[in-house]
Subunit: 388 residues, 4 copies
């Protein structure tokens, strides 16, 4: 993906790093601060943490004479790398008002300047691999930046507009019907020459049985049918944990939906809008996806089915729930040291999502990509594709 030539890597570095700041451009200083729930991080933190990655894994080991910007930042902006020292508790991120947003931007400039210098001459393949990883890491945080900003603004009772005309959920399907896949042995997992994460590696054979998979994703109109048919009230449709979730939180609609004077509206990055029935459904969790599929008499694909079929339909607008748990591929082994903490240790109680979403950064999707969230989470741009 990022051919490892000096020019290409420098260009990629600049482009990716700039994109994070572009996402934050419409924000007010105050928007950079809060962490309303533990799984949402402050935008300021995302900007600093992705910078910390380059400082810690590239500049400190590979750039002789590099002076760290501020020694405290390692403590503040490490996320979950136990190998790299003590870290701030995740739930406390929203209370750390200093360093200020301005300081964080200065931190970015400091690191970017030294990275520029370094990249002009860097040829060590291990280092270049880590730079590439750092850029993909930053792109992952860009997606979270978008969804976390939406969460922060979308839970403000004033429903502020992030950016006019920037409604990320209104796209419609362009295809219909079902693709058919025949029983047999198939291969899944990454086998290209570009970048991939460790969890995609270990291309291997799987046995699939016959299935048909929808070319279109479920739309808002289709999901409203489920809602109006009493889908949220019929326990027979739900996983047991899903039924508890529905009742404990009195759920009766996707995230960000509000019924106003009898009509469904949803919060978008363009503010509160009437729900567009043609648009592809978003912000539902695995429980809702599973109940909806059950109600239609169908099911969700496994991740292997999705990957094999994915050449036969358009994808990339929603992260699509599969009914596969996030577990290691045969032969998976985690890298030694801190980078090895990237993926493997999360392989429990998470479900795999495939595809990509409207919030995914350019050049950051491929059909073997394995995203993962817990079954109850729905603040990503998630969608439903059915199998029968």
């Amino acid at each position: 993906m990022y051919p490892l030539t000096t020019t290409a890597i420098s260009e990629a570095y600049n482009r990716v790093r700039q994109h994070s700041e572009t996402i934050c451009e419409p924000l007010e200083t105050e928007d950079y601060v809060p962490q309303p729930v533990p799984f949402v991080s402050p935008p300021k933190w995302h900007l600093a943490h992705s910078t910390w990655f380059f400082e810690t894994f590239i500049l400190k080991p590979f750039h002789p004479g590099y002076q760290v910007f501020d020694n405290d930042y390692n403590y503040l902006f490490n996320s979950y790398y136990n190998n790299v020292g003590e870290r701030t508790l995740r739930t406390d991120r929203g209370n750390v008002t200093r360093p200020t947003t301005k300081n964080v931007y200065a931190y970015r400039q400091h690191v970017d300047r030294h990275m520029s210098d370094l990249l002009e001459t860097l040829t060590d393949p291990e280092a270049l691999t880590l730079v590439e990883l750092g850029l993909h890491h930053e792109q992952q945080h860009q997606e979270l930046l978008v969804t976390d900003i939406k969460y922060i603004l979308g839970h403000n009772p004033l429903f502020p507009v992030y950016k006019s005309g920037h409604n990320l959920v209104n796209d419609a399907n362009e295809e219909s019907g079902f693709a058919q896949i025949s029983e047999g042995v198939y291969e899944i997992g990454f086998n290209g020459s570009g970048f991939c994460f460790d969890n995609e590696l270990g291309r291997h054979k799987v046995y699939l049985h016959d299935f048909e998979i929808s070319k279109a994703l479920v739309t808002n109109a289709e999901y409203i049918e489920f809602m109006e048919a009493g889908g949220y009230q019929d326990f027979n449709l739900w996983l047991d944990a899903g039924w508890s979730w529905v009742n404990d939180h009195a759920i009766n609609a996707p995230m960000y939906w509000h019924k106003i004077k009898g009509a469904w509206h949803y919060y978008t990055l363009d503010g509160l809008q009437p729900v567009n029935p043609e648009a592809i459904l978003s912000h539902i969790n695995l429980y809702e996806a599973s109940a909806y599929a059950q109600w239609r008499g169908m099911r969700l694909p496994t991740e292997a089915e999705w990957e094999i079929a994915s050449d036969q339909f358009q994808w990339g607008k929603r992260w699509e729930w599969t009914n596969s748990a996030y577990l290691p591929y045969p032969g998976f082994s985690k890298a030694p040291g801190a980078v090895g903490e990237y993926n493997g240790k999360f392989m429990i109680n998470q479900m795999v999502l495939r595809g990509a979403s409207v919030a995914t950064s350019p050049e950051h999707s491929r059909k073997t990509y394995r995203n993962f969230f817990q079954a109850h989470e729905r603040w990503q741009y998630t969608g439903i594709r059915l199998v029968k």
Copy 2:
């Protein structure tokens, strides 16, 4: 398994029902009452709930003129069948002192007497299938009876003896070495003629890669090596959720283990005993099993690997953790109505265990059996089998 002849089913009914009462024989009346944690049910409740199953699904629909023992019992002893009406909240079970244990035994006799009458002439295949299901259901609760009694007595600071000579964890391995399985397409899932649960059905093909699987289970001595090597202190070995669990609960040993004057002891059904180093390890959860495997440089089997290899080693002493999530087999569909709530709705955030344990009732194990628990649970007789 239970050939559906009149004689055989009656004999099986008597034998299984008697076994539940035999398990409870050493109990004092007080032991039947408490629910110390939500996942442990009072013995009294198990005895009543398994009886309620026969009254609700067999006697009421199939025995004309049957008078229910007590109308309130449906409310009290339903477990999680939303289709059969309101139910007591699971966490409240330990506070319901009436009906008394004596009443519950009277309830059992009432239902058994009418079941005896009915079974003499019952030929309706649907009813016979439900009787068979009811017996397997009761056997599942027998295993829980044993482990719940152990939990109740094992958390009493006096460590009372359940029954002298009844230590269910001290058996040793009889085999050693590794069995080898070659890459290829295999079939898993139930295909016999006897009884199985719906989650085993849908025999289907899977593709396995080469692997070797240990013929012996991990012993206490081997696990103590891990403990003494700092296994509980090294986050690199743990799944992220496991590391949180270790720290949140200050875990440093398997469940029921106590260090007394420098020596490890464990609570057994025969009271507090020194840990037997030769005996097979028990009462560890998936996090511990996974960390141990990581430390040994090996891994846990998948459930398909386990099932294919299971003819080549002895099993049945511990429920063995696999690294497979509990998910539907291809083609799984749940039965309509209450019986359909049996398995399918739990297929999220649970891991599969294979084998059987010293607490499993006779004739209640087969290699296709899919047991499942959450990754943090360890009050079952769970063990570790390694793959490399």
Copy 3:
């Protein structure tokens, strides 16, 4: 109260100890076990704990050669005396099935037999004082036995009858009108020659302003007026913490009240009964008492007002909420050692109740008695007396 002659103390000992067992006579063995909420203790525990008091504070120090019944009991049946060694966590009491109820009765007999022997010759005034304290301590637990039994049975969905004809809430007022007290300096606190608790000591002067106090307690009918006038929905009537309590728990009636087919019923020790409008209200907490008084345009008395006025009205059917916090009298100092833990350390965040209730043991009330509970508690037989 208990004149300290050998005969009198022996007679008192036998009478008080017998009364605890009389209270428990209608119980089933199972009823002795559970602790449904932390503030309710298992009847078995009350019987053992009050016995432990005599063993620990009388027999061990004053009866040479006394052999403790069981060394573990000190650990199990200590309540909150930090000076007497480690204690079981209060929330775990309901899970300790052994010692059995039968063992606990044997413990009582063992201690009673040795107390009988000892009391024949006991003349040490310190010991006699402790015996007397032990009897009053047991009487306090007798009241809790009654209210805890009511809680356990009253939260069983079957509403079992404790004892036919034993409805402790149905008594009516025998007086009406208001008593008048004039402004001036008064004395409160214990000054008799019998027994009192340390928190009543330190008779001292207080200055009271004019007030009138109702001779009757609030009845169910009067409280229903408040309910029907929307008392539970009008935040202006409530203390802020009370309003949170009402909303967090969706409260709309006193404890044990259930609306069945449009009519208010309440659980009594005689089972579920229609609410008797003439009977004195019971089972309301300070928040409800305070909101009711506010609605009537009156207020609750202070404990000094209550004590001074108490000769002018009948009392003893309900513990009456005062608007006084439970704090030390001038000159209060706690006794050294374990007995000093009796009262003083609870003097924060509790409100004083005066009077006595239908559940109070005979000879266990006096006008200077200071009972105390937290503002939200209502499982005692509490009532409302108004002041204007």
Copy 4:
């Protein structure tokens, strides 16, 4: 205090309003946002809420033609006035990034401009009384601004300096010895001609017994003696709820204290500093105050004792814990409507503090002032004065 002439009230208005902004001058924009714990409010919220008071209670009812600045602000910046409509949940305040700090300052200017106009001609005594109340209300929030800013910065791992040279805890005692008060009838409660809160009204008689009260407050050095004598480890010194608090939170020092390389330091508004032994102790709660007094063989004063003795010692540097619960004075009645929610509804489970603190605004203290906090709270500048 604020003589109600047009000039005086205008001058007071300008001075008080300006003071809030002066307090916030050293803040970065980010510091205005978070609510790290429910009892600490964002500085931005304090600035807006005190402004909302004037808009809601003065401008809307008394300034014909006044246009509200923004209709949503009533919803966002109401604190606990149930009579004035729906309000944001208190725990959500830290996540509301918009309106921005800049908007809030514009809101202040808008309201101040209209208040200026109005005050030029305002003569309605009810309105003038409300203006005066609004200014005292704002001064209360100024104190909270200081302590909340300290909490936010003091829980940042970087310990940022609020303002150099601005250490609000380092003042020392200027007096020593004990003042003596003789037994008798005294009068307490407000009787001046200036402003007071409703909870100070109802001057009334109390009867006090002889006591001696320290002229000096407890110092850091004295408190360190208690700590070094094992005060935090000796349960005999503590109220029961205090002992639970110490153990549940592993407390071993006052708030903001950190032991660094063997020496006690504390966070001050001037950053982290070594503890000054001569300075008056601060940031302890009632439990600590009570345990300390117990250890010294003394006690805390009641609020009546404090008020009567207060002419005989200096006060005003620390809010001083009394052992009086916050309850209504005889004859207290709350005002009708929203203003009546000011004080009365908090009269439960709070303890009275008397005096004032280094964070109190100028002209905002008097000896009859009744401040109140819950027994466990310690983020105010609280201190200990002993009585014997």
